[in-house]
């Protein structure tokens, strides 16, 4: 049963890659809050799609693995084509809490903003390793330096946006670099953004599969190359 206080046209987009074990509980949690969920199976080799399609959600399948950025763009495009008024990006690995979505969408309405960015540092980050925390802090500095956007948590995948905001987002960096690209596009749009405290749960499973701290240097180098060559 979806949250009665949420507008009907809220669409949640999840990018899922080999999430057979986790996608079910995540979708069950989400469907308790929102009605419209889009799962983009990013070329999984396991039963992620089969697990997802057993629930009343939209399933889009990438024929090959492209990356989280590409998957989110596919999901956002689909949700927009279905008339979404509010769009939420959500991780499929169980780190995010569906209960945070009403606060994110509510912030869009109460602040007349077009982007509501979740922040684990304004909210709670349960079980976050020290190295991950340090890397995320450095990412905040990097983002502030290159995009001029002052956020307390630049790489949080839990964010909400209005239709107007989503229409300004056109992710071209397919993999994890999209987290910086989306912040840059938000800055370039000139639209208003707010930060909202959210709760991120780190588990052994999510840490083993998610973005590694050691990848941060590679991501930074790729972003710099993109800036030089584009």
């Amino acid at each position: 049963m979806a949250d009665a206080n949420l507008p009907e046209n809220v669409w949640v987009v999840l990018a899922a890659y080999n999430e057979q074990q986790r996608i079910g509980p995540v979708l069950d949690d989400l469907l308790g809050v929102v009605r419209n969920v889009v799962v983009v199976d990013d070329g999984s080799s396991d039963q992620t799609s089969r697990e997802a399609v057993q629930r009343p959600v939209w399933l889009l399948r990438h024929a090959v693995n492209l990356g989280q950025g590409a998957s989110l763009q596919t999901g956002l495009s689909f949700a927009l084509s279905q008339g979404a008024a509010y769009l939420v990006t959500f991780d499929a690995d169980g780190q995010h809490c569906a209960a945070d979505i009403p606060a994110l969408v509510g912030a869009l309405e109460s602040h007349s903003a077009d982007y509501a960015m979740g922040s684990r540092f304004l909210g709670r980050a349960t079980g976050i390793p020290f190295l991950r925390k340090l890397t995320l802090r450095l990412a905040v500095l990097f983002t502030r330096l290159f995009s001029g956007v002052r956020l307390s948590d630049a790489h949080n995948g839990l964010r909400a946006m209005t239709r107007a905001g989503a229409e300004r987002i056109q992710l071209t960096l397919n993999r994890m670099e999209h987290a910086s690209e989306i912040v840059e596009q938000i800055a370039a749009s000139g639209l208003k953004y707010v930060e909202v405290p959210v709760h991120i749960k780190y588990t052994a499973e999510s840490l083993s599969k998610g973005q590694k701290s050691s990848h941060a240097i590679g991501l930074a180098v790729k972003l710099l190359i993109e800036k030089v060559l584009r």
């Binding site: 889009l60 495009s77 190359i225």
Partner: protein
């Protein structure tokens, strides 16, 4: 001193004044000078047949000719290096090799990104046109959406 005076004049002077007489070719030159000349001819023919942009084709042709010259007259790099203030000819060749490597890396990265964009677009269109809505039963609804 403009770019032409700084770069092209020393190169032209260096190439037109090879130090020392022509030496009988040894094996490396016998193999690589004809290869470079053939590649220069190939590049020139592509310009002539308008298969590539003229400016780019002329640059590539000139590059292969210069390479052939430098292989035939290795000592001529010294003259160019001296005029450019680099010092040793080997340093000049090394700098040119590094610059060429960076240029090639940038060129191929750009090609890779264009290809990635095309593949992404194809995969995305396929995914959007085969959107499927699940349900609690096994009879999932499959919907073909209109191409947007």
């Amino acid at each position: 001193m403009n770019l032409f005076q700084l770069v092209f004049v020393p190169i032209c002077v260096g190439l037109s004044n090879p130090p020392g007489p022509w030496q009988p070719p040894w094996r490396f030159q016998v193999v690589f000078v004809p290869i470079c000349l053939a590649l220069a001819l190939h590049a020139a023919l592509r310009v002539w047949r308008r298969r590539v942009r003229r400016r780019w084709g002329i640059l590539v042709t000139a590059g292969w000719l210069a390479t052939a010259w430098l292989i035939a007259y290795p000592a001529s790099t010294f003259v160019v290096a001296q005029r450019l203030g680099i010092g040793r000819g080997t340093d000049l060749v090394m700098y040119l090799a590094v610059l060429s490597g960076l240029f090639a890396a940038g060129y191929f990265y750009d090609r890779y990104r264009r290809l990635e964009v095309i593949v992404t677009e194809l995969v995305r269109r396929d995914a959007l046109s085969h959107a499927q809505h699940g349900g609690t039963s096994d009879n999932a609804t499959q919907t073909r959406l209109e191409q947007t």
